[in-house]
Every structure is written in structure tokens, then in C-alpha cells.
Assembly symmetry: C2
């Protein structure tokens, strides 16, 4: 899997700055620091016949076989890197990747089967792959070591509806959940209770074999039991929680009746609960977060410091309306550029998280993504500032329904756009950030990066 | 004029923290650092027969009289402090203060006349005071030294409609401007072109006497020509700008016809433009910013550092939707409390600016102000955090149409409120932050402070 090159992140504004290349290098470095294969190799090492995970050692002699079970957008590079580590052992594996991601499948060992599942809505291929995983796990013993390689998107890709529910019913529910305004944590609470694998049930399938879960986090604040709906972690949520969310979002009438009946049966104890903290199925389970937004932001800051920038890592957990966050961070950059607070020039401040764009109902809107809109929200307050740049980047390379990952704003953006007849106000009102930055040549377009630790906003003074 | 005491800033949450008193002291210190009398004394000093303004010296022997002309919410303490500095000289003065502010009038020298004008809408008393100022200035010569003492609110208090316009017409225009969504800079561009005093015209009235303008800024980014509509500064805006704003906000049909006619006459050159940069009336004018948000935030940071906190001054120019800024700063505080980025414990991070609250049209709303709503916007993301506090404070002591200046949030706020049956979601939806924090005893209620440098948000980890 190739690393992102600085060249892929150059834009019109960056090319006009003498330090533009260095800025692009810092961005590339922060994305590459959470490259899935890199994260696997950093956290999972071999010392002869021992496996070393962050200092802990596991003797491999006890195991006749290593099973690699991957699901999520980054599962193929994670699986490939893990397979390399066990190249001297009998391995077997199944990995479910997202349809449409171009992958070099040739380097994958023969005994790893690859499925391409639907995302964000689950499909039959994901279902088939998941059934294969369940079948493979059904034969294991204590002499098998199971590695779960988990990344964002796994919740849709690893899909096995609870007994009595169909894929169509689960898909319909997912559609409703994604549209109703529920948070990802709320959506996953419900998903966990209509599945044979989510919410710790996959760990139960692997019992009594020891398991190692390596997780690349795409959920703000890294609630491990929520990433890919936590198939290998204890589930603190209940059927009752799921039902109260159905009621909170007034979905009782719209969700398939079989789903509602299933949840109600669960509440009555007629369907077993997901395994809870303390359940014996987790006793031999080792869970490790191997990459997240914090790590990516910290890498950016470290690289910038080594290049002579004053640095600050402001947060890795922002959420909220994209243009408002852009406006606020623009004010931070303006302050930095004019008074040297909080950092004197040259400076690099990094903020990580994931914004949202709330579209007004019934209004025609343009194209864009949360990072492009965040950049557009910063444009006015940065107007006329010298040697200051704000860059907003989706680490997976995919910002909203566009082929861009984000955008770049400087103190000249507003004037340049105006002189081309582009109205900032109109593009904001129409949520049309893509058109605005596309015309300026200031979209970030590195292509899909195969990792995902949410978004990073970089503020530079030069 | 009394300084704010820490005791006036204590709330239920602060009382429950061992460091609560120190936090209140830091807040009080930052407000007192921009106490108007203090700012006057800091920037205007006497050395015998010389007046010293930031190193520049003005010999007072040349002047037979000192005129003190004040207008704005802080004009009385500014006038009083200035009068003290010239107690050995013949002085004469007029100051226009805001109606309803309780002032100790007894300490004002007899030869200073005080008017109490209407704010935010100008009234007859402001008009009368302004006419007195014009009359006083009409008699001056080069042997008079004029001190203009300018603070926020001055735009409404100093009011003299252009010839041919009535107070009612100007008031009607002001009402429309305050409601139409125009920024303060846009509003002032129009105000400057229907006045005999704004936009540099007051400086023209004082010509040929030397003038000193001492300005306390209540406008984000301190555009001096916008504070109180810049009566003593060159005006870069034109009648044409004013007319295009009338058109931008579709006010042509609603504003009084005499106002529209006046602006059109101005555009045609039939009414003289406001004095522009380079105009001789500014040649003997000395302008000095004596207090602003930056200074107040910097004082907070300095005081906190002396108390052992790690400190950061993030910005002094944020603007935007209050709850979103609260959400973002809450994420910054959460990061600080959990990983020590950007500051390890104990830490104090300060952000200054002024947020807005956009109310949904036609919906019943509760009570609150921008700072209370900002605090409410931070409540959820701070839930369950230990030893972390966010405080949002209007430096003038007046947050929206309430008797509070802001509010305090900790990691316990959400739970405490829930246990009292207060729904965070409902209070957010109803813009009812006052009721929420009032029930918790966490409103900041220092009373009116007589200064105004916008708002300060303080993030503490302990």
C-alpha cells in the first residue's frame, strides 16, 4: 500500500507559497502516521517465537494456527501487514473490504479470502463474508489465535442479522437510522441489538480461543465498543436502551415490524442480551487501539516542530456545525497572524475531530463536504491576512459526496474568488464549497488514503 | 468607581471547588484590567506641566483650557479619571452616559455636565447632550486641548441627525438596521452618513484645536473608526457604500424617505462627504486605544500564570453562533483534561470575542444571553469530566436581556441538572439557558461593570 506523497496535496495556494511544499509534507506525514499497515507494524511485533504487543508478550508456540479476521475500510492493508508478521505460521483468514476501493489484491496471501461488502448500507456480499467468518470461528479451539483487525465502516461490512430478521429489514432500519439525526453511538446501540456479531457477539463466537483486537478508530473520543459496533468488546447498552432510542426518534411506525418485535422480545428476555462487561467470553481477549485522530494530529505537530514551527495540538474531539468551527478557527488563525497568540510565527496549530453540515430542508444545495464547508466558513475572517493558511482535510481522502478531501484557504482566497466573480455569501448559502474551491484550484485531492481517523484542520502562519 | 470583587463572581459550582475562589479572582482581575478609570490612568499621565501618552509628551503650558468630551457606556468613569489628571487646569466638559446605569455622580467636577441618553435607540436627551457638545466646540481655538473619551454605546448616545433629518427618522432607521442582520460595521457605515458628528465629523467640529481621542474598544478586531461610529477618525466609507448596504438588506421601501433622499443627495455630491484619511482636520488629532478584549484576556492569562496555571490566550476575535463555539471550546477543554493537550493541568486557556444567538423565527423562546447559551452548548461534551471548568462572561456584566453576565459549566453540570429534572436538550431547543443555570446556581452575576470589551471564555483544568 502506497503512502500519500506531498505532491498529491499541492493546490494553487500552496504552490504560490515558498513554504507550500513543506506544509504539504506535514499533511502527508500526519496521514501516513495512521497508515493502517504502519499502525499494525508499530503495535504488533515479532521477537522470534513471541508476539509483542506494546511490551506484552504472547508465545506463539502454543498455537497451531493464526486466524486473521478483518472488516472495515482499512481491513485489507491491516490484514496484509498482519499476515506478513505470521508468514512462518499456518494462517487462515477472511477480510471484508468496502466495495469500490481499488486494492492491490495480488499481495494478499492465498489463504486469506476477500469479500467486498456494501457501505454505508450492508449488502448480500457483506452478509456472505460475515457468514464465512462465523463458520470459520465455529471450528476453533484454544489452540487457535484469533486476530480481529477492525476499522471504520466495519459496522456495515460485518453484517449478520439476528435470527428471524432479513437483510432487507436490517437495511431498511439502517437507512432510517442514518437519516433520523441519531448520533453514531445511538445508531450503534440499536445495531448491536439486531445482530449475531455486533456488541461483543463476535467475541462470543471466537470463545474459547484467545483473541487480539487491533482497532483503528474513526469515532470521536475513541469509544472502542462503538467502533464497527464493537463486535469484540463488552456491550454496556441494552435492548431497553435500543427501544428508548427508537421511541426518541419516533421510528416505531417506520421500522420493519419484525425488528421492533425482536427488540421487544429482547427486552422481555426472550432473546439473550449482548455479552456484558465481566462476561467470560472476554477473559482471553486483548484489545488495542492502534491508531486514532490524536496520533495523527500529534504526528503533524511533531513533524512541524522538527521543521522549525511553533506548534500546538488544540483538540482531537471537536464536533459541531462545520462553517461555525471554520469561523472560530479562522479567528484563532487571525489572532496568531496579528499578535502571535497563542503561537508566534512561524506556527502550526492542529485541531482534530469531525464536523457536520446541517442542510436546510427543502432547499437546493450545491456540492461539498464538511471540510470544504469548514474552510469556506473561515474564508471571510481570514481576508487580507498575510502568510497565513488554513487547511481542512478528511484523513480518508473522502470529504462528503465529492472526490476531494478538503480545501485550503489563505488571506487572499476571498479577493481571488471575488475577482473571478465568485460570491462567498452565495456559496455559503448554497452549501457549494466544492465549486468555490474548485474554481480557485484549492481543493485537496490526495485520492482515497485507505485510513480513516476523522478530520484534521491545520492552521499555519509563516 | 468600585472594582469587581471575586466574591461577586462566585457560583454554586465554584463554591464546590477548592480552587473556585482563585478562579473567581482571575475573572475579576481580567475585568478590572479594563476598568475605564484604570485604563485612563495607565495611558494618560502627568509629569509636571507635561502630559505623557505612551511615551509621547504634550506640553500643557500652551493651553488655557482642557475640554473633556465623553460618550459611551464607560464615559463617566473615563471623564472622572481624566478630570483628576487635570485638576490644576481650567477644565470644562460634557459627558453623555447611558440611561439606567447607576452612577456616583457626586464625584464629578462641577464644570462637567452630564447627560443621560437612550441606548440602544437614541433619544431626545442624547440629542440635547450632543448639541451641547457641538455648541461648546464651536467656541474653541488652538489654545484649547480637547480630550475625547470614547467607549461602546457612543454611537447611540452621541446623536445629531444630519440637517433636514429628525430624531424620529434616525431612530426608525436604527431600529431597522438593528433588526435586518447587518453587522455592526455595516450599521455604522450608514449611521456615519446621516449624522453631523459621526464618521470624523466631530473632529471637524473641534478643528483647529488639538485633540486626543482615548478609546475603549467594544468592537471585535478594534476597527477604531467603527467604535461609537468613529466621530474623531477619518472615515474610509462613502455615501455610495451606505446606499449599497440599504439595497443589500432591502431597506429602500422601509426607511424614512427623507433618509433615503439624504443619502442619494450625498451620492450626488449635494451633501459633503465625511472627512477622509489625509483631511487636515485630523492633522492635530492623537488617537489611542486604551483598552480592548486582548488586554483583558492577556491580564487573565498573566494572573493565572502567576497563580501557577499553564496558560494560553487562544484568540480575542471569535465571532459566530454561541452554542457552536461552546461546543468547540468544550471539546478543547475535554482534550486538555484528558490528555494535557494543549496544556497540562493545572491550566487556564482564555478565548475572547463575541458570539451571537440566532433565534428561529416565530418560535417561543426562553431567556438567556450569548454567554449563557455558549455555556449550555459546552455542557454535553464536558459531561463526566473531573476538575474542569468553563466560564463564559460578558465583561460589561450584561449578557443579553438578563441580569446575568454569563454562566459556569463543569463535568457535573449535566448530571446535576438531570437529577433536578432539567433537560439539556429542551433548554437548548428553547434558548432557555438562564433558567437552566439559574436552577443550578451557576449564573455569573457580578452586576454591571461599567466597562465593555466584549466577552471572555475561560477554560480551567485543576
Amino acid at each position: 500500500m502506497k503512502l500519500i506523497q506531498a505532491q498529491q496535496l499541492m493546490t494553487s495556494s500552496l504552490r504560490s507559497l515558498p513554504q507550500g511544499g513543506r506544509i504539504a509534507e506535514i499533511l502527508a506525514h500526519s496521514v501516513n502516521s495512521v497508515n493502517p499497515a504502519h499502525c499494525i507494524r508499530e503495535h504488533l511485533k515479532r521477537a522470534g517465537c513471541e508476539l509483542v504487543i506494546n511490551g506484552d508478550k504472547i508465545s506463539l508456540d502454543r498455537y497451531r494456527r493464526v486466524l486473521l479476521i478483518g472488516f472495515g475500510k482499512a481491513s485489507l492493508p491491516m490484514t496484509r501487514a498482519a499476515a506478513n508478521i505470521f508468514s512462518d505460521k499456518p494462517i487462515q483468514g477472511i477480510t471484508i473490504i468496502k466495495k469500490g476501493i481499488h486494492e492491490e489484491l495480488s499481495e494478499v496471501p492465498q489463504n486469506i479470502r476477500i469479500y467486498k461488502g456494501g457501505h454505508p448500507l450492508p449488502d448480500r456480499d457483506g452478509l456472505e463474508g460475515t457468514q464465512e467468518i462465523i463458520d470459520l470461528l465455529s471450528s476453533i479451539t484454544e489452540k487457535d489465535l484469533v486476530l480481529f483487525l477492525i476499522s471504520g465502516g466495519g459496522s456495515a461490512l460485518l453484517t449478520a442479522p439476528a435470527e428471524g430478521l432479513s437483510l432487507e429489514e436490517v437495511s431498511r432500519l439502517n437507512e432510517l437510522l442514518l437519516r433520523c439525526g441519531a448520533s453514531i453511538n445511538e445508531i450503534n446501540t440499536i445495531r448491536k441489538h439486531i445482530s449475531r456479531v455486533k456488541g461483543g457477539r463476535l467475541a462470543a463466537q471466537a470463545f474459547p480461543a484467545p483473541t487480539i483486537s487491533l482497532i483503528l478508530s474513526d469515532v470521536i473520543r475513541d469509544p472502542l465498543d462503538m467502533i464497527a459496533s464493537g463486535p469484540t468488546l463488552p456491550d454496556p447498552t441494552t435492548f431497553e436502551d435500543a427501544l428508548s432510542l427508537i421511541s426518541k426518534y419516533h421510528l416505531e411506525e417506520d421500522i420493519p415490524s419484525a425488528v421492533l418485535a425482536h427488540l421487544k422480545n429482547g427486552e422481555l428476555g426472550k432473546v439473550p442480551e449482548t455479552p456484558k462487561p465481566g462476561d467470560p467470553v472476554f477473559k482471553q481477549g486483548y484489545v488495542k487501539l492502534i491508531g486514532n485522530n490524536y496520533q495523527s494530529a500529534a504526528s503533524a505537530v511533531e513533524k512541524a516542530a522538527s521543521e522549525g514551527f511553533h506548534t500546538l495540538h488544540l483538540t482531537s474531539c471537536y464536533q459541531g456545525e462545520a462553517r461555525e468551527i471554520g469561523h472560530f478557527l479562522g479567528a484563532v488563525l487571525r489572532q496568531m497572524a496579528t499578535t502571535g497568540d497563542p503561537l508566534p510565527r512561524p506556527a502550526c496549530l492542529v485541531a482534530g475531530g469531525e464536523a457536520t453540515v446541517v442542510l436546510e430542508k427543502g432547499r437546493q444545495t450545491g456540492r461539498g463536504g464538511r471540510n470544504q464547508e469548514l474552510a469556506l466558513g473561515a474564508t471571510k475572517v481570514l481576508d487580507n491576512l498575510s502568510d497565513a493558511v488554513l487547511l481542512a482535510l478528511a484523513t480518508d481522502g473522502n470529504d462528503g459526496p465529492t472526490d476531494a478531501a478538503g480545501a485550503v484557504v489563505t488571506g487572499e482566497t476571498h479577493q481571488r474568488a471575488s475577482s473571478q466573480g465568485l460570491s462567498l455569501q452565495a456559496h455559503l448559502e448554497e452549501h457549494n464549497a466544492y465549486a468555490y474551491f474548485d474554481a480557485l484550484g484549492d481543493l485537496l485531492k490526495p485520492g482515497l488514503t485507505q485510513t480513516n481517523v476523522n478530520d484534521l484542520i491545520y492552521l499555519f502562519t509563516l
